[in-house]
Every structure is written in C-alpha cells, then in structure tokens.
Subunit: 109 residues, 4 copies
C-alpha cells in the first residue's frame, strides 16, 4: 500500500469507528476544507510570513489535508491522478517562456 | 520514491522551471489554499451535494491539494507524518464511546 | 450622520485608541474578512441551516461586517454607493425574465 | 429610511423580482459570503497590498457586503445593533492599556 492509500485507510477507519460517514456529504466536506483553510490562513493574520507559528501551520495544514483526502475518497477520485493531471493542465496554461518570473494569472500573460 | 514524493517532485519541477519559488512564501500559499478551497465550495452553492458538478470538484480539489503539498514542502513538513499525527490527536479528542454517531464538536461532547 | 457613517466612526475611534491602523493594510483586512466569513460558515458545518446557533451567526456576521466596513474605509469606498452599483450590475447580468426561479450562474442562463 | 434600510430594501426587491428567496437559506448565504470573501482575498494573492486592483476590491467587497446584508435580513438581525454591540465586546476583550500597538489575540495579551 502506498502512502496516500495508507492515510486514506486510517481516515476511513477513524470515521467508521465513530459512524461519521453519515455526516460526510460533499457539501459539508467542502465547508470543512474551507473552514480549516481559514484557520491555516489565520496563522498569518497581521503578520509577516516568517512570524507565523510553525506549530499552528503544522496543525491546520494537516486538518486541510485530512478533509481533502476524505473528499477525494467520497468521490472516488484518485489523488495522485488528479494532482498530476492538474500540473499538466497548468503547464499548458502557463508555458515556461511566458510565465517565467511572472505572478500574473494565465489570462493576463 | 513513494507517491507523495513523486507529486512533490513534479510540483517542485513545475515551479523551478517558471522561477515561481520567489512568490511562494507561506502567507501567499495560505491565501492560495483558501481561495481554491472557496472555489471548491462554490461548486455546492445553492445546490444539494448530489447536484454539484464532479468535474468542477475534481479540478478544484486538485488545486487545493497542489497548494497544500507545496505549503508542506515550503515548511519541510512530512505530509504523511503530520496527517497521521492529527488523526491520532483527533482520536483522543473524539473517543469512540463519546463521539459515535454525533457531529458535535469535541468541547460539546 | 447616517447609520453607516456612525458605525464607521465607532470603528475608527476603536482602532485609533489602540493604535491599530498600522496593522490594517488591505491584504490583512481581506484575510480578516475571509477568516471571519469561515467562522460564520462553521456555524453551519454538519448541520441543516435551521439547526445553526443564532447567537453564533449574530457574532460572526458582526465580525465579517466590522472588517468589511473597515476595508471600505481603508480604500475610501462609499459603502452605499458600491452596494447599490453592484445591485444594478447584477440586475443586468441576471435579467428577471431569464433568471426568475433559477439559481444558475449568469454565464449558464 | 436610513441608508442600511435603503440598501436592504433594494436587495429584497432584487430577490423578490427573481423569486430567489427560495435559495437563500442561511447555510447557502454563509457559503456565498465565504466565496465572495475569497474572491476579495484573491485580489491580493502573490502581491503587496498596494499592488492590488482597486476595481477588483470595489467589486468583491460589494459582493461580500451584499450577501452579508441579506444574511442579516434573513435572520432579522439589526445590522447597526449587532455591529455596535460587537465593537463594545471587543473593547472589553482588548482594553486600550493592554492592546495599544499590539496585534496579539485577546487570549495572548
């Protein structure tokens, strides 16, 4: 079993033991991801990046990832596949020769 | 190389080719995760979970994961380690006998 | 002084007394609005709308509005003017005869 | 009619003409506020505050406010009252002598 499958198996076990699958519809999982992403963001509020607490970043990033992995599982999406596919699409949207050193959006370059 | 490392290597290559590491400080990566999480959430706006577009979910979930993996890389956090650690912490916060079948927060159970 | 001006004057006084204007650049105010919006959203997580706590909604909606009013002030935007302008724009994007009873986005109707 | 009431009356008219009140339950309005807050935040992604587009800020801040005003209306919350109440509460949480010049959270000061 690879790493991603190992983690998803742990998440599945955690939820089954608590009978929580009933709550984990896609809409609430999306709300869960968004609220955890905001808690991660709060680590940087009124601060320079370098002053944020690494402990808080660690905790909140793990929460974002845990919900995101559950969302993938809920919709039978293969995490590695959809991530690599998106990198390929972004490579087309942001060709090296146009995007190099620029933070502009693809529709501005 | 396991699957998480494979994906992170692809992301690193993508960013190096475009010289984008200069933009990827923690604060902006956290903003990136939050804005992609909101695009994922938008797939469910004014809708029941079952009416959301699976294509949009696939795209936006991949975006959330891609930024989250880059954030982990930026802070040298081991994704598998922080995720499994968080599952263990949540297992303590939500003991099976108290949490089973309940969607309450840990400070309410 | 109308209502919006009264509230903005109170916010301005609150921040001046604490010497907080130095932190209130647009980027952090936008982060503040997004994190409070997520706390409001959390009131509905794993719940039907009618089961959310009205006390939490009241608190978090006030936080969203307080930051949003400060953001308007920071950029010298007239709240009433930009809101009414947006309603007019939306009225053009969503003409009554096409949008009536439909939750579709303007580019789908 | 004061300015907040004027805006809420316009929003109510807009929604009634389109028969949109049926979609505007609290949960989806909260999602709407969060997604618009993220679009506002996106104006600052990979940028210093001073490089964000004022036109985009104006548009997206108006969207946040429009949904927030509709949310208040949906729950019969008096916007001026809840905002001033929150400023009073924050004044207690952040007493001037402790909070002056500090961006720390109330539980850290």
């Amino acid at each position: 079993m690879n790493d991603i499958e190992t983690i998803q198996a742990e998440l599945r076990k955690f939820n089954q033991e608590r009978d929580w699958d009933q709550f984990h519809n896609g809409k609430d999982l999306a709300i869960g991801i968004a609220t955890e992403a905001a808690e991660l963001l709060e680590a940087f509020l009124w601060k320079r990046a370098e002053d944020a607490s690494i402990d808080k970043i660690r905790e909140e990033l793990a929460d974002v990832l845990n919900y995101a992995f559950q969302m993938a599982d809920r919709y039978n999406l293969d995490i590695k596949e959809i991530m690599l596919e998106k990198i390929r699409k972004n490579a087309e949207k942001y060709p090296v020769e146009k995007a190099k050193g620029s933070a502009k959006k693809y529709n501005e370059i």
